[in-house]
Amino acid sequence: MGLIKQNPSQYYTGSQSYTSGGTNSNALTWPTELTPLIWDSTATPQSINNYDVYVDNVRQYPALSPYYITQSLATTMASGVQTQVLTLNTAVSATQTVAGTGYNGTPANPVTYVLIGGNNDAVISVVGASGTGTLTSPGTGYSNGVSYNLPAGIGQTAAVYTYNATPIPTSSIITIKLTNPSIWDNYQNYQYTSLKDIINNFMLSYVGIDRVISKAKRSEVIFHAKRGLQEFSYDTLKSINIQELTIPANLSLPLPQDYVNYVQLSHIDSMGIKHIIYPTTLTTNPTAPLIQDNQGIPTQDDFGDNIESQQSITNENWRNANQRNITGTNFESTDANVYNWNWWKTAYGQRYGMQPEISQQNGWFTIDNRRGAFAFSSDLQGKLITLEYISDGLAFGDDTKVPKMAEDALYSHMLYSITSTRVNIPEYVVQRYKKDRSVKLRNAKIRLSNIKLSEFTQVMRGKSKWIKH
């Protein structure tokens, strides 16, 4: 069995087409090969669901005339197979066109009557003596725009309702199409394998009688697989996430939810070119900005804990600092406080030459560990930045993706980690697995570095190096 489950149409379009049943309700079974549908009826459809409904290539959101489709998604799991059935219902209503007399229903005690016609199964809940009421069950076999009577007994005159329903005709094509983020995920899916599959493969091929590990709990294997993935994520896997953000007036941005470490922060100019924002040691972020009394003693609250200021004065001063005074991008007549060359300020040092560390105008950032946020220098306010950071790859549980180029390295890591933590395994065996892990990890790094000879030589041309190829 091949690894590709989708046909080309499903892969490229992320969609499935159906013919309508011609009724007010169409139950559509979503193919298991495709990314599962997500629908949260309590949320705004556009913000949560990952698919759109089209009828004859017309997107049905928001609810459009003539179908006014409402939908519900049922996901069931039986014998390890997940089935999703999307039910599309077209709007049905009944409007009273002729008032009757003698009906018993009241708002407090509505009485149900069946509309005479169709398959005699559309139900009106009557709340008034004239037969006024609402359609509570749409029934089947009724025609759009046709009038039907409510039953009338002795002493009653029949109320008449006009039935309004427009089922999607059998000649129409209903298409369910995944939205772009889901299709994009799908496109790059084949280069990855899931952590779940790696664990299952490892249990199958490495653990058991007559195998290198005769017995191991699956929990132990899961632990080492996840730890391995964490380690690989830091320096081997291409798991860099890039957020595009604008720096607000308070000059700080919270750390991303799955942040482990930053790779690079850059601000983006009008041409889309990035300019690296460097971290600085010129200032710091106090973790405990204490409130003191006039003797300099920190004050405490009723619980005996130190009272801390909401705002650090160091941070405040840094935010208010004129960065030109630091970088030296001033005219000669202006003081640049830190590196001032006036004769009475010699204690600050003299400017004999440029200091590359501070002589740049891209701005600075620090990490404020008290607030868990990046803090930026004032010259970056309102600028567009990109935040490149690494995560540990475990934010999404067992479905975490692992590049196939690092799959073997991960198996070796798990094998080494498990054998090295056990007693009674000969040391030469452990060392063998250690070397094996090292070699495969290096291979994985080289593979994922994506070094292509043609690109390499192109760079070297600029360096006046001749590479024969």
Binding site: M77, G80, V81, K196, N200, K217, R218, S219, I222
Partner: protein, 352 residues
């Protein structure tokens, strides 16, 4: 292929009688046969464990591992958990094991994609793994505590159903039974019908349940009738689906003298009543009734046989083991010694 219980019993009797050592009654045989089958059955798993640790071969017909697996594969089953009482709803993540489970093998979780197997943990291990965020159970990697014949499965995810979990297990073999009826001379006649507790005894007589009988006096030749089908014969039964009973009726001197079961049918139970309208049998104005009682069914009689479930390759071991116990029953040390020696030799050969 199972071992025919009659073959074993007659072989044992032949060996015992040849030596003029005594007689093993069917009752004794059935008890001993059950004991022997369980002994051999339990030994499968000990042998399997030993073979796993011995050098192996993959040559066809020579692999002891394959052979022993073949021996117990007939007892291997998969099935969902059960609810107690039967038919009630599953309300939590505690699942009862199947009622016929003898040895637990593994369990799989049907709420995970492709039904992943459930890792069974001790309470202590479970308490440890749930503390680590890396090892907490998920639907893809579920875990369970196995206590009090129940699996408590994590993660608990509502709604619950008894088929959320599938057990893979070994069931206990059925008790072998040499079924019989007593002949006219007091001899035991083998009944090859497969034993079912609620099956009417095949070829037995129901005449003792007649009350009242006919009172008129017209003779009638033996006639096969089907209650509920044949005119004038009705049956009152608790189970509407009961069907298939065919009996032969003989009337003499105004009374039903013979009610011989020809085909036992299915679904009948104690308390069912077969009514004979006399007008259909030349006995106008009178009615005969036959009440089915416990001795009319396999469970309340000696009728119905069950073969040994272990495979035919174990037949010699079964016979020898029964002989060994027969020696104990009839107090003959020679039989015990001879049978034990043979068994020991077999054992040595199979483990060498």
């Amino acid at each position: 292929m199972a071992i025919n219980v009659n073959t074993v019993y007659t072989t044992v009797l032949t060996i015992l009688n040849k030596e003029q050592r005594g007689y093993l009654t069917p009752f004794e045989f059935n008890k001993v046969a059950n004991q022997v089958q369980l002994e051999i059955f339990e030994k499968f798993f000990e042998d399997y464990n030993q073979y796993i640790r011995m050098p192996k071969t993959d040559v066809e017909f020579a692999s002891r591992m394959d052979h022993i697996r073949e021996e117990f594969q007939v007892f291997e089953k998969t099935g969902p958990s059960i609810t107690i009482p039967a038919g009630s709803a599953q309300t939590d993540n505690v699942y009862n094991q199947p009622s016929d489970l003898h040895r637990f093998g593994s369990a799989s979780w049907n709420k995970g994609v492709n039904s992943p197997s459930i890792e069974i943990l001790s309470n202590r291990d479970y308490n440890q793994i749930k503390l680590s965020p890396l090892t907490q159970p998920t639907n893809n990697f579920p875990v369970a505590k196995y206590q009090q014949d129940k699996l408590t499965i994590f993660p608990a995810s509502s709604p619950y159903a008894s088929d959320d979990v599938t057990f893979n297990y070994i069931r206990k073999p059925g008790n072998p039974r040499w079924g019989y009826q007593v002949g006219a001379l007091g001899q035991f006649i083998y009944d090859p019908t497969i034993f079912q507790p609620d099956l009417i005894n095949a070829n037995s007589s129901l005449a003792q349940g007649l009350n009242p009988n006919f009172t008129a006096a017209t003779a009638l030749a033996a006639t096969a009738i089907t209650p509920g089908v044949t005119a004038g014969v009705t049956i009152t039964t608790a189970n509407a689906a009961a069907t298939g009973l065919v009996i032969t009726v003989s009337i003499n001197n105004g009374e039903i003298v013979q009610l011989q079961v020809q085909t036992p049918g299915t679904g009948y139970s104690v308390g069912d009543v077969i009514s004979f309208n006399g007008s259909s049998f030349g006995q106008a104005g009178t009615v005969a009734k036959c009440f089915l009682s416990a001795p009319n069914f396999n469970s309340g009689s000696t009728f119905g046989s069950t073969d040994f479930e272990i495979s035919g390759s174990m037949q010699t071991e079964v016979v020898l083991s029964i002989l060994k116990y027969s020696g104990v029953i009839i107090r003959d040390p020679q039989i015990i010694q001879a049978a034990s020696q043979e068994l020991a030799q077999d054992e040595v050969n199979s483990k060498r």
